[in-house]
């Protein structure tokens, strides 16, 4: 077992412990805060009026229902930010591959894309459940959700394109090129809620309590550790696969 793999497994365990800790902190120490507002043209739950008067803003816009549904925040946001980060790393490896034409960067880029895709799917699932709990609908075509959805489709397209090219080197080049052009959507999706007013709250602009920031940071660090561990595991798996292929060839020869 290589040293990197050992570190990855340790990080995986620590990450799991940290995210579990954050989960309990979210329920026991984090306070409920009024995050963002809802201004939707769709008929939502009638729940808004039920928030206690002390939490209602004076300008007449009701806060979103901030109760239990808010607890998804401590998993949903760390997973989403990890997905953006890993996608960016994949794009950097893709760029390195195009510049240096070294196969190792292509493998890393592809595996980072796979890891990012796992996180994107996790973000989507938690996000959809949060949307349902908080806004009363399963899906809303608002800017953040739309751009993120497009990002997911682009990632699926990346794998479809790679698999449809027969030649390995060409598949690597096309994959890298498409990864770079698709990545343009990631920063767009990240900043769009800061540019266009939308239902999707920007929590860090509305100010966060320290009691809430701590579980969030713990969950974020834990999630990044898990992401790194998954990436390393996949890299190891891929190199094992290559070694098996090599040995098989030598046996046949």
């Amino acid at each position: 077992m290589s040293k990197q793999l050992k570190i990855a497994i340790i990080l995986m365990v620590i990450g799991a412990l940290l995210t579990t800790l954050a989960f309990f902190m979210a329920f026991y120490t984090a306070r409920v805060q009024g995050f963002g507002t809802v201004v939707s043209d769709q008929p939502l739950d009638t729940a808004f009026a039920l928030a206690p008067p002390s939490m209602q803003p004076t300008d007449g816009i009701a806060y979103e229902r901030p109760w239990l549904s808010q607890k998804i925040f401590y998993f949903h946001v760390p997973v989403a930010e990890a997905s953006f980060l890993i996608f960016t790393i994949a794009a950097i490896f893709a760029l390195l591959f195009l510049l240096r034409k070294d196969k190792k960067y292509d493998t890393r880029s592809r595996i980072a894309m796979e890891t990012a895709f796992v996180f994107v799917v996790a973000t989507m699932i938690t996000g959809v459940l949060w949307t349902r709990a908080s806004w009363g609908v399963w899906w809303d075509w608002e800017p953040r959700l739309t751009t993120y959805f497009i990002m997911m489709i682009l990632m699926i397209a990346y794998f479809v394109v790679r698999n449809s090219v027969g030649d390995e080197e060409r598949a690597a080049t096309y994959g890298a090129v498409f990864c770079l052009i698709a990545w343009v959507d990631a920063p767009l999706s990240f900043i769009i809620t800061r540019l266009i007013p939308s239902n999707h709250p920007v929590v860090f602009q509305s100010g966060m309590d320290t009691t809430n920031l701590i579980p969030f940071i713990i969950a974020q660090i834990g999630m990044l550790m898990i992401g790194y561990a998954i990436y390393v595991l996949r890299v190891t798996e891929e190199s094992m696969h290559e070694r098996i292929e090599l040995l098989k060839e030598r046996l046949e020869a």
């Binding site: 195009l98 479809v160 449809s164 090219v165 080197e169 060409r170 770079l180 052009i181």
Partner: protein, 238 residues
């Protein structure tokens, strides 16, 4: 060697464009197939809207429908334009010739843009007569509509040519083009539809919406064509 003329990039670009147009004038294949396909899409629209009733406001969705027809038609055209090149070994010949790679991109993209504009000249009036002639709404000036369509077409032709160059070398050419093309041009389609609808409905203060959306579409065009331009060398050499 002393006789060697210095051929500028612009001459190379003109030669590629000239080749595409001459081929089209001979076969008339691209325009007939794209034109007929667009017509068929309009017929499907009629079927889809046939039960909508008279209270239905067609102006609200006319911009979207029009752009949809253009997107579908453009995908057909983009695919054909590069499949032709590949089947006849033309792409390889182009690569062997001492033409700058980005020039090939611009030559093909401008060729596709011209065909797309020609098809639009055919279907936009037709669309108006079929769906909008009974409408009571006072729309904005026609040049605003044309400008929005032009900005949209530039983005579609640029991104589309880039992606079609990739998809011709894959198995399942047209499907691969669709799955790459639609999510990538999605932002452009969204803002162009907003601009078109603003002109067609001409609500109060529509010019402001129109110019904002057009600026966003132009920004998309510039960014995506710059990225495509930078990356074209990699895909055409692969």
């Amino acid at each position: 060697m002393s006789e060697k003329r210095n051929i500028s990039s612009f001459d190379q670009f003109r030669a590629i464009l000239h080749k595409d147009i001459v081929m089209e004038l001979r076969t008339k294949e691209m325009l007939t197939s794209m034109g007929l396909y667009a017509l068929l899409v309009l017929i499907i629209y009629y079927v889809a809207l046939s039960q909508a009733g008279s209270a239905f406001e067609v102006e609200r969705i006319a911009g979207g429908l029009l752009l949809l027809a253009i997107v579908f038609t453009s995908m057909l055209g983009l695919n054909r334009s590069l499949v032709h090149e590949k089947d006849q070994g033309c792409l390889e010949a182009l690569l062997l010739s001492p033409v700058d790679r980005p020039v090939i991109f611009f030559g093909k993209a401008v060729g596709n843009l011209i065909f797309l504009i020609l098809v639009q000249i055919l279907i936009v009036p037709l669309f108006y007569f079929i769906f909008m002639s009974g409408s009571q709404v006072q729309s904005g000036p026609w040049w605003m509509l044309a400008l929005a369509l032009l900005v949209g077409s530039i983005g579609i032709a640029g991104v589309g040519t880039f992606l079609a160059t990739m998809s011709v070398n894959t198995t399942g050419t047209d499907f691969i083009l669709a799955i790459m093309f639609i999510p990538l041009v999605f932002p452009l389609l969204l803002v162009v539809v907003a601009a078109l609808t603003a002109v067609i409905t001409a609500d109060a203060g529509y010019t402001q919406v129109y110019w904002t959306m057009l600026a966003a579409a132009a920004g998309y065009d510039v960014i995506m064509i710059a990225v495509a331009f930078a990356l074209y060398e990699f895909i055409i050499g692969a």
